[in-house]
Amino acid sequence: MRYAETGYNLEIDLTRGNIERVETDPKLAELHLGGLATTAKILWDRVPPETEPFSPNNPLIFSTGLLCGTPATGANRTIVATVSPQTLLMGYSMMGGFFAPELKYAGYDKIIFRGKSPDLVYIYISNDKVEIRDASHLKGKGAVETVDIIQQELNDPKVQVAAIGLAGENRVYMASIEHGRSSASRLGIGAVMGDKGIKAVAVRGTKDINVARPAEFYKLCNDVLKYIQFRDDHPVPGVMPILQGLGSPQEMKHVDEAWHTQNFMWGNSRVRKRDYWTPEVEEKWRGTQESVRKRLISCYNCPMKCGAVISVPGLSTYMMKCFSKLTYTMAAFADLDFGFRIAQRATEYGVDGFSTPQVMAFAVELYENGILTDADLEGCPADNEGRFYWLLDRIVRREGIGDVLANGTYWAAQHIGKGAEEFAHNNIKKHEQLPLKLGMLNPVYYLMYCTGEKANITQIEGQFPQSPFPTMAEREEFVKDWIQVPDEKFKQYLLGWELRGERSNPYYPTIDMSVDIVDWQEKMHYIDDAVGMCAGLSSFPLKPPYHIHNYPAIISAATGLEMNEDKLTEIYNRNRNLIRAFNVRRGLRRADEKPPEDHWKNRFPELEEKLLDAYYKFKGWDNDGIPTKETLQRLDLGYVAEDLEQRGIIK
């Protein structure tokens, strides 16, 4: 019997309409665990570097994580991966909700799509029954609306659906895959789904998921749940509200947005409004949020309630989580009411709430600077809010200027020329980033921004505080019950970190410390992504319930695999290197690894080079960020080394 995993993948060839249930090699879990890592393995094996994002040979993979569907709280992530049209590198995005557990209960660890369907279809999976169904009646329908229609048509409210909206159908590079309160938004994954002609995937499963050592596993899960309760009662003092607790940032719960509105940038990531948050604004925003928020909701088997049911008068109901409540608001210099309204339309269209507002703000800025003209924006209203709705409608339909903007700021700027590149200023690896501009370089964040394979800081950071605590007393208090550190030395790093003076940014944490800290944070994210754990209970927040000390026992009791911290660390390194190798094979090099020029005002080129040198060295990579042959061989990735050697990438 296979434990935790089902041991089967579903292979669907859309061109031929062929469906196969394929048993997987149990050895893969031993080597990689599962989730993102075994998905990366499939992409490595099947996708040569020439493969274009919109080629029929570019697979689109929906993967569960190794622990999804087991009693482990928060193990509910669906990892969707493919070649990204935006970065041309591996594109992957994790969504919460209910899809992955349902797929497991249906008896599958992954769905691997290849080919393209000539007509729009949706996939219906009900245990062993798998159908490719006509979706012509769903063409142009909203992503939220689609779920409702499919559930009614199948007469089953328990069926779990992941769907694209108009943006995905039209291969917009910011297109998301929407799934209730969750979405796989980043890197244009929805565009690839649309390109394949898949409107939605609907899953229903009624089979068992087994674990290897039940009593032991149950106790460990119970301990996790108890710790979550403990953390609920003990918020971390001395940090802003959204960092005090567990879960994704609790944006649906908290109304106090002093920090975001005054520290994040408005418009096209340009303008800081230091005095924005007045009592009047707070009162107005509180009124808005409390009137539209109907209920706080969770993902499968998690108590954290990071999402909400949102119902704006006059608009159809949708669900929201996290930060998208502010991205449209701030990009358009508008207020929260506008944010909730436009997000409703954007969710139905199925677009990424991070990139899309920036693309629109970028367009407005180009217009204000005479680079886009009246001819480009013919028919566009003059007020900012009106412009945003108008642009959104054009982008998802790829009409006029919308067709250019639909490729994101990087590609749009290349196309427009006339200096537009200067305005696409907030990208890493061609991908829009959080609208954040800061003063002093933080060496840890520098490394994470540069080297993150996903080009998204929230998928790398966590665990280690973002800034030092002002007083020694606060630091001592913080490290007192910091059980999550892999090694005591991390406590020393934090204790020594000062706001000013010699032991402050950018030279402290020192280069070696920075590398250590990044490695720890990455490690936790890579484990989460392999087991399908929500980062909000593990790699992302301060003092999470899952960490390097309890993960080995949890994974072992669930799967029966022998596991300890060293083994888990080795698996992390293997997975980290495999994804890096995939991207290196597609051309990723050191020159691509830079944060936006203006991310920090105070930059230190010499130090930055040294940081990268040290990080690469620590990873066992050469000076260009390419894993060495020895590193790959040590991690049982000899076949990867051989391939890179044959291509002349490893010399």
């Binding site: 409702d148 087994n210 674990v211 749940l225 609920d232 499968y300 109901t317 669900m319």
Partner: protein, 182 residues
């Protein structure tokens, strides 16, 4: 003069639908607890509690599996919530032959909430333990023994909350319909 009344420790799970976040931890853990060996597998389809939810209509109602009925009942419930009719037995607790709900997916045997009776006595039922948002609250109270107690564990949805949420009129209509059926 005094009357002799049989007192009995009654168990009850109070459901606060407003606190339910739809996480389905209750379904998962109920099915794991009842697996053999305990916790060796889980499958919400085997759970004795199911959460009926329609997020877009903000409906989240945990329903416990009640009595097995050999045949479909005559008068079906019809709930009207937020303007939408629910006439598909959605919130009924019975394991009845007209639907798959509260039947084992493989054998088709009916399921019924047993209040986790073989759990150590000092512990709360599993679904309550795992519902840390307190949508499910375990209560023990001393009450008069009735025939019903012997037959079925007492589970009720807090009336006040239902009324606050859906309006007295709708609840009354529903109760009236249920009583007719009774």
């Amino acid at each position: 003069m005094s009357m002799v009344v049989n007192k009995k420790l009654k168990k009850r799970i109070r459901i606060d639908v407003d606190k339910c976040n739809g996480c389905r931890a209750c379904e998962m853990i109920c099915s794991a607890f009842h697996a053999t060996p305990k916790y060796s597998s889980n499958n919400p389809e085997r759970s004795r509690i199911r959460v009926m939810f329609e997020p877009l209509r903000n409906i989240y109602v945990p329903v416990y599996a009640g009595e097995y009925t050999a045949s479909e009942c005559m008068g079906k419930n019809e709930y009207v919530i937020d303007g939408k009719k629910y006439d598909d037995c959605g919130f009924c607790r019975a394991a009845c032959p007209s639907r798959t709900l509260f039947h084992e997916p493989d054998s088709g045997l009916p399921l019924k909430c047993d209040m986790c009776e073989d759990n150590p006595p000092d512990e709360e039922p599993l679904c309550v333990q795992w519902c840390i948002t307190d949508a499910l609250v375990y209560e023990e109270y001393e009450g008069e023994e009735t025939e019903e107690d012997v037959k079925i564990a007492d589970v009720d949805i807090s009336m006040e909350e239902m009324v606050a949420k859906y309006g007295l009129q709708k609840v009354l209509e529903t109760v009236a319909r249920m009583a007719q059926k009774g």
